[in-house]
Amino acid sequence: MKGLPVLSLLLWVCAVYFVGIYLFVGGFLLVRLEVNRTSTCGDVLQPGEEPGDFCRAQPRFRRAVLLIIDALKIDFARFDPNNTAPRPYENKLPVLEETVSVRPSHSRLYPFRADPPTTTMQRIKGFTTGSLPTFVDVGNNFASSAILEDNLIHQFGQVGKRVVFMGDDTWESLFPKRFHRSLPFPSFNVKDLHTVDNGILQHLYTTMVGDDWDVLVAHFLGVDHCGHRFGPDHPAMADKLTQMDGVIRSVMDRLQNDTLLVVMGDHGMTDTGDHGGESQKETDAAIFLYSPSPLFPAPPSQSEPDVVPQTDLVPTLALLLGVPIPYSNVGQILLPLFPSHGLTEGAVGGISQLEALWINAKQVNRFLETYSGMAKDIPPQSLAKLKAEFSRLSSEYLTAVGQGRSPSPQLAASLQAYLTSVRDTCRATWARFNPLKMAAGLAILAFACLTCFILSELSLVLIRENGPGLKAPVVVALAVGGCVAAGQMLTQGYVEVAWCLAAAAFSSELLFLWRAHRSRAVTVAKNSFKAPKCTTWLTPRSLLIPPLLVPLLRCASLLSDSYVIAEGRVVTFLVFSLALYIPIHLNWDGLLLPPSHDPLKAAGLVPSAALSPSTVRKESSTLLACLGLLIGSLYLSLSFHGCREEQGSCQPSPFLSPLSRLQDNQLKNLHYVLSVCSLGLWTYLLRRCLRHYGNLNSSGGTVFTARWILPLLSVCLAVHWAVSATPEDSFRNLAELISLAQLALPRAAFLLLGLGLFLIWLDPLTVFVKTRAAATARSTSLPPPRYRASTGISPQAELHHLIPQIYQRMRCSLNDGELSGGGEVDSRPAVEAYGLGTVYSAPLLLFCGLLGIGLLLLHPEGMALSFLLLLLETGALLHIHASSTTLSGLNGTHTGGFNVPWTPVVLWSLAATQFFHATGHLPTFPSIQWGAAFVGFPDGHTGTMLPASLVTLNTFASHILFAVSCPLLLFWPLVCEVRGSRGGRTYGEEGEDAVMEMRLRENPQQFSSALLQLSTRYLFILGAQVFASVCAAAILRRHLMVWKVFAPKLMFEASGFLVSSVALLIGVTLVLRVDVAVGRWFKRLVPDASR
């Protein structure tokens, strides 16, 4: 068989998928590094002489009230007296405009522009840290949502201000234990307009009157929930806004002179009441500043800002309240709040505009330097420009101050300009979707799916000598990529790798599709009798058959947040449906029951049976029994699911918690025994299967692995579980030994696993050869003595799987060009080979079995049960596939190829997702099982690669197992064929022995095409799922749930695809490796035999 073309085609397809995913994710997911440093009063800001820039002046306000009205759009806050027929959301907050016009030096109302993503959690992060939070803020603590960056709440705490919080409980998860007093209310139910608001109102006024606070944060959710539920244009919104008007009035009445009031929205909303995206309706909220004492030194003038960016609140509040500006802030101070130079003397402890700007600029410069030292995502040119600008400004400022003269107003303006440009640079890097990249990624992914589909349909044509090879697309891809790179170099001066990759991938895809189309046309023209088969593969009728309808439904389900939340059950439902479809379909074709069973059919309506009724009955009962097993494991697997926070009344599986956390001793023992039993059963079943097919007889590396390493690994694992479940204080004098065992046992298991996998790779053959002398062969020529065996082989196994003389036949047919006569065969020594029939599947099976135990090591102990179910379900699926293939052979549809139909492939890929959920995983970040990183490394790691890969292996365990074992689908019908042939079925000429997987060697062309087809079908289904989740993220990027549901789902789906495709490639490579080894084995046998 031709291994290289298959592998290179698969590699190319995977690479194209990767490029598509990379492009889309690059445009969609905004990534930023968190700087975990905090500002303090004693910081020395460069360039500067004395420490204590931040806390230089007396704070202007002692206390502040922050009223955050979620989704308070600027349109809601404006008041237009001329509007006689206001819409429900207009003119409902007259208090703001009234105050501004009556007391202009006490209050202002500005549009308050949020940065995308405009979701509440990101916004709270934004206006407390002064930074631009993205979807993925890569920090040290990925698992918890608490803000670790420097922020206002932290700074308030540092200087001893008592922060009282009430309202949206998101704050509580962002700032755990940071508040002096906290009254969180549940924010999750969007339909509930009043719980949070009424809860706040119960406590707000009493708290304000008391003296137990310095900073009061109240976060109202009613307006936002009203928008989500009814949209802004609804009477309920009018009621809600009127209520807010009253709240603001009451709060203003209770303010004291030393208190600052900030009323603000965290984001706006679209006309349908949604938010999350970057349209102006979503980003433009309102901010209203008020204080009973004069707040603004000058009346409103032309120099007022049109729009206040949300980050600007942070340095402003910090300087007004006398706390250091948070370290990562990139906002600039709100200038009208500060007196201009020369007026400072009169104001109470204030700092002038210029001083404030100077502190602000120094702080921003410090952050920029720190950040650019950590991450490289800010373009170097703009960074250099900003640095040069800052040094120019600082020298100008310092000379002006040094000479004692008042700096020019231009300096203030250029400082402002500097701060603005820093923020714009950061925003361009962190906080903007790149729609072009997203679209390019989508297009490449769509074409990759199409390519995969066409590859799978035309695999036989494409693998042929004259078929379109891969050379041209790759050459074109390289050329186009190079051209784009050169073009970018010429026009922009630097190369953006993403676009070169995009151009390369896209051009190679197009070329490939075009060539495939042409070669198909050629093939159709050549053999016109095959034409109808070739031309009907893209009609809607053929696409809507259940095996393709189910993946379609699955992809459609990824577009709805409810289905993504319930994904585990959805996938189980689909697997169950498709599994039931198999016998129903077989029955519909009249294949499930033996034809003679029904005397009415004997008349010849169906083609005459190739299988005897007893065989059919046996196959059918096997199929139904396996279906029962499949359904049973499907149902049981539902009890291993974890719970998302969105699923209200859901109890996570008790098996998910590690044994060491169980308190009840009896329960612990029960769990342990169950787990060890499942582990033992897993090992036993694997060995049983290998022994059954005669693969445990030889003395190669694989057999050694199966005989010794596999059991040893299980024992290792069982002991490790026992040790890690032991309570720490139970054996005091053995504590050292226990900690040593905790270190050594998993590492030993890792070593054994690596050794086993390596041995399988090194020597994958499980064939035991027995050569008999020619004389013996002649004397017993006619019936080869099947029962003659070396020691250690059970007669039963031999009966099943001794494959005698098959090799001679093959060699004869190869050497002489035709099947030679019996005499010639007899003149050569006979060769008996045990386990030759499963030569391909045995190493693969063992590989997966070992890998499964290795992956189980990274899971909580209870998951052993789930892994056992996985093994059972895999076996059931394989047997169902084999039986249905045998049964459809009756129909005459068996064309001699080894093609795997869609149904089992779809089931296989859905089962991977199903067991992703059934091993306690969920597509959310909090549900990642971080404990996996510490298996064998209880003291933590120094690097990040190892823990990251351990966690990845843990998370995508089922993806890996199913992808690696995917080629088994190709082998299993052949492995099970022996039953059919013993039952009286004959392939080819009379008296041929069971050939099983040797059929594949007879037809290397069909073997490679079938392997290619299987892999591309699997990749197609996985790729379609990725495409669907990418579409969901792109279409629904303004959805309320995009950062909670769709974006994590996209990340998990994309990484699952990455891992799966790598695992699939490993599986295919292993098959090719075995093929090479078998070829060598035959070659070695030739001189051996003719000696």
Binding site: K191, A566, V570, D589, G590, L600
Partner: protein, 219 residues
Amino acid sequence: MWDHEIRAMASTHAIIAASVFMATVLPAVLVPGFSVYGTHLLWLYSVSAAVTAVSVAVFWLLGITPPTKKHTLGYKLSRLVRSCLYFFLSCLFFHTVVVLYGAPLIESAVETFSLAVLLTSLTTLRCLCVLGPSVQAWIRVFSRHGAMSVWDTCLQITVACTVVGAWVGAFPIPLDWDRPWQVWPVSCSLGAMIGYLTGLVAAPAWIHYHRKQLTYKCK
């Protein structure tokens, strides 16, 4: 070709559909507080009972039921008993399948079982009426060449429509719309009912449209 049968079938289906309609409307008039969502189980059983009664009556009158070999009372009784047994077993079967599909095992067992009763009265009952209590005949009917009369084809279509309807009816359950018809098992039973009614319409229409192609082997 099959004009007589098709006409009989159409009228039969009209009668059954009318009985479904009456079983929905009559309790709404007679029982205070009746609604399809609110008192769903009541509706479900009333529809099941109506469909059962009307189907049995109509098919008995039409004489579709395969001729019995013996005409003794004892044989007829045993057939009746077996039919009842099969009806009950089919309820259990549907219950099991629905639970395996993901219905709650213990909490709303009554609702699940009611759905199973509805499905049985829509599908198994018809099999009983048309084919008699013989599982082998049922399995045989659901194959490409298994239909032996127009009634068998009709049976195939209605049963498939009902089952697919119930299957599709499960789709809206996970959605967070908070509608009264998303409560288990309302959407599934409504789906099954709608599928059944569709099948009632589709079967005669399909057979009429394909009457030229239909050939059956004689029994």
